[in-house]
Symmetry: C2
Subunit: 405 residues, 2 copies
């Protein structure tokens, strides 16, 4: 029997408790031993003091507890608690992407040093298996690229904007009403920081070195208009917020940005709050993972699997799930490679766009604004063109790179 502690009893923490209760029999069989929740850390104990405690020391001083699931969120309390647990020789699993993206290298090294596991399958893609298959099932592969839809809230909004011709504000209101987006400040989702943390984790795993969020150029979906989604549809594309990381000739490049996704790509079919991630390995080619990117029970299901993986493999799990520390870089991890870009320009005659952006295709022109698909243009040339648009009295409203398959 493994005695564990759950830190936090909000949506995720109570979900872990529920899953471990509900499917206790099959989890015990597949884990080879029973997993029992001995203590749950909460801010204030209002019931069952045998189970609940508000003191981390009750967990740290209990030699029966050998593992913990961190479900507090944020880094303020989670970081010192997780550190203390690992330092005390206990494995820790978490869905806390901020913690992993920020302190991952340090916590992984600490786990390895102490002979325990620090795992975080649920931090990206919720219940959808991704990190373990990418690192273990594809271990014979060099991961050349990993990209996809990792934020369910913005994907829900884009789905609504595209299907119902809804504008950004209306889609955001709906997402807030449904509890997908924060009411007070939805910027973590809509402006990309959430997706940025997730791709930082995937990129760090793929490249084997800490990728810092501050080095990842990040743009969310604010500013997108139904005009853009209609124009994209005419080009045989969906608009999706894509988090991506790949090896380029000049080194790793990572980003978060809304992109044109050709309908043939599996990612174009990822709708509503679902997540989908493509991993390209040098031996296997493209593989694709898809599932519910969030939610109480799906996330808890991934945490339960990590508990078992930690019990089975211990610190050996970090032969495959690991990255080295690395300082933040002075410059963002951009790529200078040419690509096809959609640009929407206001206050300038559409006829001027080919001259500014080079060869391409006029996609839409409603008099007030025009959309142009510029082919094979470098980011540098794109920047140059935007400067000229401004000098001519116009303004670039939107730029969307087209995903190449």
């Amino acid at each position: 029997m493994i005695n564990i502690a759950i830190l936090g009893f909000g949506t995720v923490g109570s979900g872990v408790y529920a899953v471990l209760q509900k499917n206790a029999g099959l989890i015990a069989r597949r884990a080879g031993q029973e997993i029992r929740v001995k203590r749950v850390l909460v801010l204030e104990v209002t019931e069952n003091p045998e189970l609940f405690t508000s003191s981390i020391d009750d967990i740290l001083n209990d030699p029966e507890i050998t593992m913990a699931a961190e479900a507090i969120g944020g880094v303020k309390a989670a970081y010192p608690y997780v550190k203390a647990l690992l330092a005390s020789g206990r494995s820790v699993v978490t869905s806390n992407k901020e913690l992993v993206a920020t302190h991952g290298a340090e916590l992984l090294a600490l786990a390895k040093e102490k002979g325990v596991a620090f795992l975080f399958e649920a931090s990206v893609g919720g219940g959808m298996p991704l990190i373990t298959p990418m690192c273990q099932s594809l271990l014979a592969n060099q991961v050349e690229e990993v990209y996809g839809i990792v934020n369910g809230t913005t994907n829900y909004m884009l789905t609504r904007m595209s299907r119902e011709n809804m504008d950004f504000a209306a889609a955001l209101r709906e997402a807030q009403q449904l509890g997908y987006a924060e009411t007070k400040d939805p910027s973590d989702d809509v402006d990309g920081p959430d997706a940025c943390r997730k791709i930082a984790i995937l990129a760090s795993l793929a490249f084997g070195k800490q990728v810092h969020t501050q080095n990842i150029p990040t743009r969310g979906i604010r500013g997108l208009e139904p005009f853009d989604l209609r124009a994209a549809a005419r080009l045989g594309c969906a608009v999706k917020l894509i988090a991506w990381a790949r090896q380029t000739e000049t080194g790793p490049a990572v980003g978060v940005e809304p992109m044109l996704v050709p309908l043939e790509n599996q990612l174009a079919g990822v709708e509503d709050v679902f997540n989908g991630v493509l991993v390209r390995g040098d031996m296997v080619g493209n593989v694709f993972f898809y599932g519910r990117g969030a939610g109480k029970l799906p996330t808890a299901s991934a945490i339960a699997a990590d508990l078992v993986l930690a019990a089975q493999q211990g610190a050996a799990v970090h032969n495959s799930i690991f990255w080295e520390p690395s300082p933040a870089l002075p410059a963002p991890l951009t790529s200078g490679e040419p690509a096809t870009y959609y640009v929407r320009v206001k206050g300038l005659a559409a006829s001027m766009l080919p001259g500014l952006y080079g060869p391409g295709e006029l996609v839409a022109d409603d008099g007030g604004q025009a959309a142009y698909l510029a082919e094979n243009i470098t980011p540098k040339k794109l920047y140059e063109a935007a400067r000229q648009v401004k000098a001519l009295g116009g303004s670039v409203q939107m730029e969307l790179r087209r995903l190449e398959q």
Copy 2:
């Protein structure tokens, strides 16, 4: 260091050798130790007798060899060799779906008894991670349903038939020219036995008991006409060969059949030789795996991962990847549940179809034959209607169940 033997040196066997050479460094790092191919079993040794041997005894009597990758195919030689290797206390991994579907329960029990692993990730979906994520990453889930496209050859043919309005014979010729289908006898692919073996494996894993191929109603894509694919498109569906297994109220049901797949379903976007499988867990909901279902290096990449899994977990892997033996059943594992069916009927006025099939929609009628979408009809009623069609001088040319999401 782990010394392994490879049995067979055809496409798969030489692929395993190539992957273990090419990515030796990263595999060693992630496995925690080097994996070295010490012997390769071939029918006739023509070079390098230090490596190649035609005698299984050279492998069985070599105490340094602790694992083997079986890549002979079929069961005639593979079955006794794998049995002997497991009996001698060596882990075995394989991509041999016939071996696993036929002798899986026995070989799994033998591996467990001997304290070693018998693994077969590559037997379904080639290099795409599926079996390990389904059994380990989703271990906190009761798998309620698993279904998908597991035969690349027929999926390639259906893609061509649908995109190019090609008939079955022409699509088959093309698949044969490209080496996707056997030239001599393509029936293993086109009539469903290959998909049947693969779903037998997935169903056995999901239900924990041996599901026998002879209990799986299996129908391939022979008889499908461009007429059907066009009619399906009008209904917002693709036609795909679906292998499926699910828990119904009356017990497990399993099948292989061409189906109407609504375009919203992830499976509709699986084209060419790719595979895609949906797994529904009671906690996580739907997750979807997609990748190249066959091919030398993708398959070898999955075999390499299994070698490492066997080394890491040993017999403990069979807490999660396992099924019990179970006798073949006297009756097929059908489901009597009602569904929506597409039927194509020849030699009967289209106007008679609603009377025979009940409520539904006339989809197409070219005078010679008509297609009807019968709603909410039981297999029993469908069979009854087909009998009546025949009695009235007509004939049912095709029946396609519609996949419900």
